[in-house]
Structure formats: structure tokens, C-alpha cells
Subunit: 693 residues, 2 copies
């Protein structure tokens, strides 16, 4: 499933407009997090009170009302994280005495035992200087509140505490998901588990498990064992492991939505069962990236018998009410070339491949219904015959979601949330499933159920995947949970830094693997110049990586582009410094010495990288980047000298510098130096006639 | 199992003497690794040749002779690591053509399917500029050689390559183990797996799985489920998981030796089965650290019936020929107080608790023999009635091992390898199971089978355990594999740094979790001053941590002492600089500017830590250390000024500085500043009359 590139700018326009639109009257005015707080997602309503609740070794928790193992497990995990963070030995068992308890957790009922779309996830949390009280109608609501409780913990000279606060909270959207594509690259169960922990920490509630792809069939089928045995290189989830993941997710109030992508994206199915294909075969597991031709044959009864048995087996394995059947990117080339399929279409009056796929979907729908599942598929499945309880998964943008909603279909959005495309968190943050300028009626708007971040798996390994998902997905989680008017990007980044660190408590590796990868690349403990370079570089956006640096699914994902991260803090910090510098008077020039220091460290790093690259062949591809970094730094240093003296640079200088920057701006090793736009501003400003003081 | 403190210095004396003893004539002269190589453990024989074998994307491997899934799995894993390190897409499948293959792996036979003590682990590896050829009698030998192959890979401007070399290798000792105590703190299967990978990387071959303790019973018993259900807080290994770990270890040529520690160390058994105890109970899982009273009742038939059934179940689960029955540290206090036990002893003529435990061991021995297992236990089990195929596990030192050997018992050494005691790698490295000055005859010496590093689990969590085991255990692995004459500590550290980095490829977290822990403690991305402090601090040695900073098994292991590591690189580097400085003439003074830089950074870090500690209550306990660090740094700065000018400091100054250093040398927060001995040298030297130039 790929986003069409040209859709993105349009989407951004829509979203950007929502920033400046005034908040509708019905939105509470307390949606912005008070700056002392570091909550993410921001609750629906937060009222800071005076006072604080200390966290000491006298800490205790009691439950009131309904309680079960799921709740007790959540409390125990929360307590363990609190203990880890504060280094205080906290009690292992629940307390009995309500009046002396630090935290009272009060649930009305259990809620559904299998997490469901309709679960009430609301909660209220009141913290006074005596006690915190978390009240929720369901266990899942209490889980959400426990995460907020933990996010409220702060510390100062007097110890750890929670500020007194009143929170009333519930999600804006009921469907808040993360897709992990385990088809293209297998991810071991522990990777999924730690990501489920992270999802729960930011209140996401759907793990969309993309289980089958051209490059791998990842789930054990007892009925058709050749699916996983021949389609996975041995890298698949046993049914026991699947059950364990589902239970792990349920313990965190997270639904597990399995996806079996058909009729396209199905090469790995055909390795063991070529008779299902629309071409004769044999088939091999696909090792490349892209869109491939193999597709199930939609014209044969045998195909549906197989799907009935297989999807029936999966329907029993996965308890969620929904099953995702993919349905995307089938170009039908094998159908075009198969005379029997062509004859079938003629006979049935099926006019084109889209109609043939609609026919296929109709048959699959009946199978799902037989097995008690509702269908969800990528937006290609939208068709007049589609029943109204099917869900449309939009990858083209909110417009197609709105179109489906007008027709009465529920839908979720993934356009704008393609985290594999390496865009910054700010961009995802402003994509809204239901933008302020939406033309939908209130009734139609109810069909927009939420969205999902999509971690497509071409270029992620167990070592790197967390760094592609986090922390950016926390910003998406906030978009899907918090009121629409929560759109302050700067404040989002402030809180994202904190949340990112807290995710590390759960074992997430998005930060910790970074220095490991640099050490391996440098074959040295001393990685400082390399780190300096990579801190201002980002992997190229969209799908350019594959074009620039072709690899297969068997290639090691240990290169510099794999170590680099998609949303450079350093570049953002630098851009802000440049803005400050340029807006100040020449003789004062805010941030001048900091900028000089940055440029100097870049220039020196560029130089120091030379011998480092000589010793580490894996870094060869970084050599031109090292030169570029020095060049950019020197241009920057010269620019700030001009701008500090108030003497304008010559236009020759300007032209020469901009040419250097243009050269440096060309991606190399599938990386781009993301500081260049800011340096360009300095160079242009340096050659402008001085402003009057 | 605890080492008796006063034994250590004696052990060190013995070992230190082995450094200066001349190499016996039969030892090959090529045992030292050529300095271009980074092998660990050093092979029995290495001869560098001229030429190099390039590693390119044309890389391929063929097998000749015997091959099986175990071998193919090892080759695939090695290839994946090689690809990861070089960022080259290497072929997924074995090649067919021998002449063009980069590496030929030639095995004679499979060897035993369950790794055994008698396995032939030898191999030879010849690398020319055309091809590498690994020849081994068994698959396990080939695995050892594949690790050496990978350690030979180097890189320069011309790319990756192996130097041409001839290696003939086999282990000095057949038993080379690592004990992981999962009783006191549970370690999830993935922790064990990554440590098994690391063990294989340094050619260790026994995973000693300490499964039961006062603080936890960690293995599922289907016959006696109350053992794990009531004795583990739910933190136990299912039998499926045990089988998976055993298979994982076998795939890496590693034996799994289970330990069920009886009759002492057994509180967790008695929680579910108090009738086995020597006191009436009830019993609770022990939360403290130390030696506890509960012990199995050795006088009742019921005890042995239980053990027969339980150990029989375990004997079927664990395929290794040996079973470890612990047997240590039972002080018999419950026996002393139990009139029925006292009467039993009188009746049977059992004169003391040691004899009663010998009686117990005799019964257990019969049970093990019945189930086809050989017995191994801590040295307390040594007794005239012990059969000669039992193995003595020494924790008191090589002397007791030698004593057992003289009596004809096989034995292994753990004294000197207690990695939980936080001693530096150099100390463990020089402990030798069979020291040069051993008085054993050649025949007796054969009874010394090897040794085991012991990772006792009081103060390790899944987050910290790797940093306690690695990299130091690689030095122990070398001691147990390489010729006795390999004792160059400086060269060991040179190679240890490289191996440590390579272990990270396997997912080991000994380095990567360190900055994570500092960030959490500081509650900030900026941890620089904290890192500066911790880089020159080590956890207190031996058992002082618990005395200084009492905790329970339920306490979070996230404090500064948990983040700190046992063998400060920085302190070692600093000590070497000081030696160089002091041995040089005042006017030149080698390392002067580096020393000044170190002292300045320490002084400034001490100052910067103040406000950082204010914001992070978890760091409160570090406050006096911060002050000490500044004090020490200032003393050092003053000392090098005196020493550089050639003017002697006053004795008042000297006395004042030494008093400051004494104060700073007192451990705080269970940490000690390990740079102080070197600073003390500077201070003393600064007040000495100048040497004549």
C-alpha cells in the first residue's frame, strides 16, 4: 500500500488551514497542556489545581468497584515503571486501606473481554495533595488513566510528586491504530510486544498486523502449512505466538486486526499453492521492493474454497470483529494475460479489472460474514455492492474518506500517517481524519472512525524499526485522541522529547540502537564526527531510498541511512537559531556564538571523517557527505561574519555559495543534509544590502 | 554461593606468579595474537601469512563432508553478522562450486547431537588470498572456527578482507561455562538467548542455569505445579521455553546444565510444599539478600520420594549428562532446632550437619543415578563416599580443586570468576584453574576440567545483566580456552574493546542501555556531566553494595550504581596517563595537557551536577560524589602544576590534599571513584623534592 506522492501536499494544505481556523465554540478551552505538564496525548480537559501529591516509599494503590487480573496487571506494570523512574522501592501488592492510599482506582465494570471498537475508554483523574483518584467505566478506561497518572509524575529538590490536577478525558476517535508490516521483514514477537507497550503508553488501541506480503507469509496455518513453510524462509509466527501477542495486546486494551492482503500482494501464498495463482507459476518468495504481478485467480471456485478454509482458520485464531483483506495495488497484469480469466469476464459481463476485483471482494465478503467477521480493506474495495458495515481504509487522503462517509461507509485514514516515508512528526501531526474545513454533516462525520500510522516494512529490521515508529507515532496518537484544536507544533515537540524518553523505559530501542549502529559502522568507540554528520542528515523522503540505493529484502539494514533518523532534532534546533539570528539586529545577532560553534563542529567533523572512512569501508558512501558538511559549514561561517559586520557579501560570493549548497543538497547515500535550507537563508541574507538600524 | 573474601588475594598471588613463570617448552611460541589481529580467545596456534582475502558481494560459502541443519544455521547466522558489519548484501543460500567459494567449511562428522563434555571442538582455519578453508572433525568445531573467521574480518580503504593466516585451535579446558542465576531475579528467555549468542561468540560451552533459589523457583513442574505457581510470582520458564532454550544452546554447541540448589537455598520450594521443610512453615518467597535458614528435611522418606519424582521430571527435560544439585551454604540452623532431625542423627550416628548433608547427598546421588545423570555440586558435597564420576564445583579456589583432583575427582573452578563482585576483567583473567605452580601430576591435572563465570542474580535486572556479564566474561572465556601462557593484560584489554563492540551485533545491551539509564536518572537528554562522573566510578566490590544501600529483590535496579559499570575504561586510561606523566621529566611531562583536560572536565562536571541533581530526585544520593569529583580534580590540577614547574608542594598542601582524597575515596551511593589511587600518586609526587634532571 503506497501513498500517491502528489496527494501529500494537498493534504498538508488542508491540514495547515486547520491551524489558523478558530476553535469552534463547543471545544473546551482547556485543551492545551499547561506548560508544566508533559502529557501526550493531551486530555480532553485538564485543570491544574494547587498542591502536590508526593511519591514516597509509602506509596500504595487500592482498587474499588470492579477489578480483575487485567486491571491488576496494568497497575503492577505501572507501579514497576514508576519505581524504575523514581528508584523507590514501591509495594508489590495492592493495598487494602482506601483512606491512606496514594491512588484509588475505581472501575464500574470490566468492559468487553476482547477489546472492541465500541469500548468506553473514558476516565477521570483527580489528584489532590492527599490522594489521586482514577474513575473509569471500564478497565480499558482505567488503563488509559494509569498512563496519564504516570505522565504526571515530576521531580524537584523535594522529591517526586504529581501536581494537583483535574482531568476528564476520552478519545476523539475510537479507532487509533498502528500497522506493522511483518510481511516484508519479519519482526520477532518481542519487537511486537515492546511496540504494543509503547502503543498503550500513548493510548493507541489497534495493532494492525500486516501478516502476508509478496515477500513473506508470516502466520502458521495448520490447514495449509505450505503457506508458512514455503512462504516465509522459516520466519513466521506460530499460532501459539499469535495467541500470546493477542493476549498481550488485550492486556493493554489493544485490538489486534489481522490483514491478509489479497488478491494482489500474494506471491508468498503462491510458492506453496501455485494453483491459486492467475499465472502458471512456479512462484518464488519475492526479494525486491515494489508492486508485483502475482494475484489470486478470482475466477475459480477452488480459490474461494481455499480462502473459506484459510480465513475460517484465521477467524477462529483472531478474535477481533474485523478482518482486513488488503485489496490494494492489484494491477491485474496476470489477469490481462490469462485467457481463461478474460473469457470468464466476458461471460459474466465484468467490464474491467476493478470490476473483477469487486467480484472477488464480494465472494470474500461472504466468506468473512460466514465466519462472523466484518470486512475492512484499502479504499480500492469501495464499490456500490459493498455492504455498509464494511470499513474503508483510506490511503489517498481525507477526501476519499469523506466520499465514503457520504455514502454511509465507516472509514479510517492512513494517508498522512505513512511513517515509512520519513517525514517529520510535525507533518503527520497536522494530518486530520476530519479536518476543520470538512464538508461532512455531523451525522456523516460519525463515519470517520479514526486512523492508523503505517509502518511499511521494506527497510526496517528489528534493530531499526522502533526508530522509524517512535517517537513520531506519539504525535499521530495525539492527533487521533486529543481535541482537533490541539495543533501547537512547538508544544508537541516539547512533549514528544519527554515521551520519547519515557518510551525507553518500556524497552523501546529507537534511541539506544543509534550509537550502537554508529559504532559498528565506524568500527570504533569514537563516533563523534560521524554522529555530528548523521545528526543533521535524514534519510531521503518518500520512495527515493530504493531508487538511490537499491537493495533487496535480504540486504543488511545496517548502513548509514539505517542509522539516520527521520526527524532531526538538531536541524530543527538549528533552524530556530537561524530565525532568531536573522531577526535580530546585526550588532547583537542573537545566537551568533551558538551558530558559530555549530558550524565549526560541522566543519571539523567533515574533516575528521576522512580518516575514519578510510578505516571503515562501510562508510565509503558517506565520503561526499563529509565534504558537503564542511562546505556548508564554511559557507555558514562566512555568512554569519558578513551578517555580524553589517557588510553585504558580493553577489559573486552569493552565487558561489548557493552553488555549493545546491550541490550539497543533492542526496547522497540516500541521505540529505537537512540543515541546508537554513544555511541558504543565511547566505541570501548575507548578500542583501544591510537593513537600516 | 558466595566466595570467601579473604581467599581472593591468595588466589591473585598464585595467578600473578604464573605471569612471570617461563613458558614450558611444550607450549607453542605463537600463542600471542599478532597485534594486527583481534582474536578472543586467542587460538592455540596462529601463523600470519602474507596476502588477504577480500570480502565482496561475490562472497560465497560451500560445505564439504558432513553437513546438517545445525551447521547450515551457524553458517547463515555468521553470514548475517558479516553482512551487517560490512553492509554488503551477501547470498542467502550456500553455494555449490567449491573452487570459487570464499569459504569452504569441511566437517568430518556431526558429533553428538546433544552437546557433550567430550565433544571435539578443535578446528583448523587457513586463509589465503584465494580462499578460506575451515576444517573440523565435528559441527561444534566448525562453529568455533566460524567465530574465529568472523573475528578475522578487517577493513581499510580497499574494503573488507581477512588477512592470510593459518590457525590450529582447540580448547585448553573442556568445561567453559557461564552461570546465570535466574532464581533471585528472573531473566526472560530473550535475555538468555542473547547471552547464549555471546557465549558462542567467545567459545564458551556450558550454560549453567541456576533455576531455583530462596527468592524464586523458575521452572515449570508438571508433577508439582505449586513449585512454580507459588514460588515464582508468576515469573518462571515453561517447559516449552526450557526446551526452546536448550535447542537454542545446542544450535550453538552449548550444553545446558540445570541447577536445583538443595538442601539449602530452597525457601521457594517450601512455599507450595511446606511439608518438605525442616521447620513447620508456612514459608514465603524470600525478598532479601543473604543466606537463609530454610532447608529440606533430609530425614524423611517423603523428601526423597518428592525429589525422585521432581528430579526425574527434570532429568527428562534437560538432556545434559550432568545435573547440578547446589549443596552450598546450608548452615543447618533449622536442623539444629528440629528435635526429630536431632533424634534421627543420633539414631543413625550422624555426627554433625556436614555429615547429615553428606547423607542427604548420598540419597540424591542415587536418585540422579537412577535417572541417568551424573552429579555436580558446590565443593561442600566433597565427602569420602562421593563416587568418582561426581564433579566438584569449587568456589573457594584452585587449592580445593587441586585437593579434589588428588582424590581423583573431576572439578571446575568458579573462585576468581565471580563476576557479580564487580572486579575488573584483569583480575578474573589471571585466575587460572590450573596455575603454573600447581603441584598436581599430569594425570591429576586432567581432573581439572575448566571453570565457570558466575552471574549471581541479587542485583541484576534484564536491563543491567548484560553489563555485568560482558565484556569481562570474554576475558574469562579466553582464560579457559587459550594456552596458559596467554597472560598479557594490556593486550587482553585491547582485544576486549573490539569483542565488546562485536557482541553488540548480537543484541547484547551491555553498552546500549548505559545512556538510557543515565537519561532516565537525569530525566533529560543532557547527561554529559553525569556520564563524566559515572565514567570514573565503579560499583563497590564484593558484597558491600547490600551493606551500603540495602534493597530487596522487589527494588528497582535503576539507580546510579546500576548504571555504573565494574571496569572503568576511563580510570584505566587515566592511570596509564599518570604513569607516563610521572615517569617523564618535569619540563616535558608526557600527557600533561590531556591530564589537565581530564581534571578540568571532572571539576566542571562536579559543578554542573548540582542543578541537575536538584531536578532529578533519583540522583540525590550522587550529590556528595559530585562534590568529591570536583575536589579530586582540583587536587589533581594543582598537583600537575607543581610537577610541571618542578617546585615541590608544601607538606601542608600534601596533607590537606590527601585528606580530601581520603574523604573522596569513601564509597557513596555504593559507588567508588576509582581514579583516586592515581591522583594520590600525583599528590605525593608533587610534594617530593624535585629529582635531578
Amino acid at each position: 500500500m503506497k501513498v500517491v506522492n502528489q496527494v501529500l501536499p494537498a493534504l498538508l494544505l488542508i491540514c495547515a488551514s486547520s491551524i489558523i481556523s478558530p476553535a469552534p465554540a463547543q471545544v473546551p478551552t482547556t485543551v492545551a497542556a499547561p506548560s508544566q505538564l508533559q502529557l501526550m496525548p493531551i486530555p480532553a480537559s485538564v485543570q491544574l489545581q494547587s498542591g502536590r501529591l508526593p511519591i514516597t516509599d509509602a506509596f500504595s494503590i487500592v482498587t474499588r468497584g470492579y477489578a480483575d487480573d487485567r486491571l491488576r496487571g496494568s497497575i503492577a506494570r505501572m507501579t514497576r515503571r514508576l519505581a524504575g523512574r523514581t528508584v523507590i522501592t514501591l509495594p508489590f501488592d495492592l493495598a487494602a486501606d482506601e483512606s491512606s492510599a496514594t491512588l484509588v482506582v475505581q472501575c464500574e465494570r470490566g468492559g468487553s473481554s476482547v477489546p472492541s471498537l465500541n469500548e468506553d475508554e473514558s476516565y477521570s483523574l483527580e489528584v489532590t495533595d492527599k490522594q489521586a483518584r482514577l474513575v473509569a467505566p471500564t478497565i480499558v478506561g482505567a488503563m488509559r488513566g494509569l498512563e496519564t497518572f504516570l505522565q504526571l509524575v515530576q521531580g524537584d529538590r523535594n522529591g517526586y510528586y504529581l501536581p494537583a490536577v483535574r482531568i476528564q478525558d476520552q478519545p476523539r476517535f475510537a479507532w487509533r491504530g498502528l500497522l506493522i508490516d511483518t510481511g516484508r521483514h519479519y519482526q520477532p514477537p518481542e519487537v511486537l510486544k515492546r511496540n504494543l507497550d509503547a502503543m498503550a503508553a500513548v493510548k493507541l488501541n489497534v495493532f494492525h498486523w500486516h501478516l502476508t506480503e509478496d515477500q513473506g507469509f508470516r502466520v502458521e496455518s495448520k490447514k495449509f502449512p505450505k503457506l508458512h513453510l514455503m512462504g516465509s524462509d522459516g520466519l513466521y509466527y506460530t499460532q501459539d505466538q499469535v495467541r500470546e501477542i493477542i493476549a498481550y495486546a488485550a492486556d493493554r486494551g489493544i485490538r489486534v486486526l489481522p490483514e491478509f492482503d489479497i488478491p494482489g500482494h500474494s506471491t508468498s501464498w503462491l510458492v506453496g499453492y501455485p494453483e491459486l495463482g492467475s499465472a502458471p507459476g512456479p512462484f518464488k518468495i519475492e526479494r525486491g521492493a515494489g508492486i508485483f504481478e502475482p494475484a489470486l485467480d478470482p475466477t475459480r471456485d477452488q480459490t474461494y474454497k481455499f480462502l473459506d478454509a484459510f480465513l475460517g482458520e484465521m477467524a477462529a485464531l483472531f478474535p477481533d470483529a474485523y478482518m482486513h483483506i488488503g485489496g490494494d495495488e492489484n494491477e491485474g497484469k496476470q489477469w490481462d494475460r490469462n485467457p481463461r480469466i478474460q473469457a470468464f469476464m466476458k461471460e459474466k459481463g465484468i467490464k474491467d479489472n476493478h470490476a473483477l476485483q469487486a467480484y472477488f471482494n464480494q465472494q470474500v465478503l461472504k466468506i468473512l460474514q460466514k465466519h462472523g467477521k466484518k470486512m475492512i480493506g484499502w479504499e480500492e474495495i469501495l464499490h456500490p455492492d459493498l455492504p455498509k458495515d464494511a470499513v474503508i481504509h483510506s490511503w489517498r487522503g481525507p477526501a476519499s474518506l469523506a466520499e465514503a462517509a457520504k455514502k454511509g461507509y465507516n472509514g479510517i485514514l492512513s494517508a498522512g500517517y505513512y511513517i515509512d516515508l520519513m517525514f517529520p512528526a510535525s507533518q503527520h501531526y497536522l494530518a486530520d481524519p476530519l479536518p476543520a474545513n470538512s464538508a461532512l454533516t455531523a451525522e456523516e462525520a460519525k463515519h470517520v472512525m479514526g486512523g492508523e500510522a503505517t509502518m511499511w516494512g521494506e527497510w526496517v529490521s528489528p534493530e531499526t524499526i522502533d526508530s522509524r515508529i517512535w517517537p513520531r507515532t506519539a504525535a499521530i496518537a495525539e492527533r487521533l485522541w486529543s481535541p482537533r484544536t490541539v495543533v501547537d507544533v512547538e508544544d508537541m515537540y516539547r512533549r514528544l522529547t519527554v515521551i520519547s524518553r519515557q518510551l525507553e523505559e518500556l524497552g523501546l530501542t529507537h534511541e539506544r540502537n543509534y550509537p550502537v549502529m554508529l559504532r559498528r559502522l565506524a568500527n570504533s568507540e569514537n563516533t563523534e564526527p560521524l554522529r555530528t554528520l548523521v545528526s543533521v542528515a535524514e534519510p531521503v523522503k518518500e520512495y527515493h531510498r530504493y531508487q538511490m540505493r537499491p537493495q533487496t529484502m535480504l540486504s543488511p539494514l545496517t548502513g548509514l541511512v539505517d542509522a539516520a533518523r527521520p526527524d532531526s532534532d538538531e536541524a530543527r534546533r538549528f533552524a530556530a537559531m537561524v530565525e532568531g539570528f536573522l531577526s535580530d539586529a546585526p550588532r547583537y545577532r542573537l545566537n551568533r556564538s551558538d551558530l558559530r560553534e555549530s558550524f565549526t563542529s560541522w566543519r571539523d567533523a567533515g574533516t575528521a571523517l576522512g580518516p575514519m572512512i578510510d578505516r571503515a569501508p562501510a562508510l565509503q558512501e558517506a565520503r561526499p557527505l563529509a565534504t558537503n558538511l564542511s562546505d556548508v559549514a564554511i559557507a555558514g561561517l562566512e555568512a554569519i561574519e558578513y551578517l555580524s559586520t553589517g557588510n553585504a557579501a558580493s553577489s559573486e560570493w552569493r552565487v558561489a555559495q548557493l552553488a555549493k549548497l545546491d550541490e550539497a543538497a543533492k542526496p547522497k547515500a540516500a541521505l540529505e543534509l537537512v540543515i541546508i535550507p537554513s544555511v541558504r537563508k543565511l547566505v541570501i541574507a548575507a548578500a542583501e544590502p544591510p537593513r537600516s538600524q
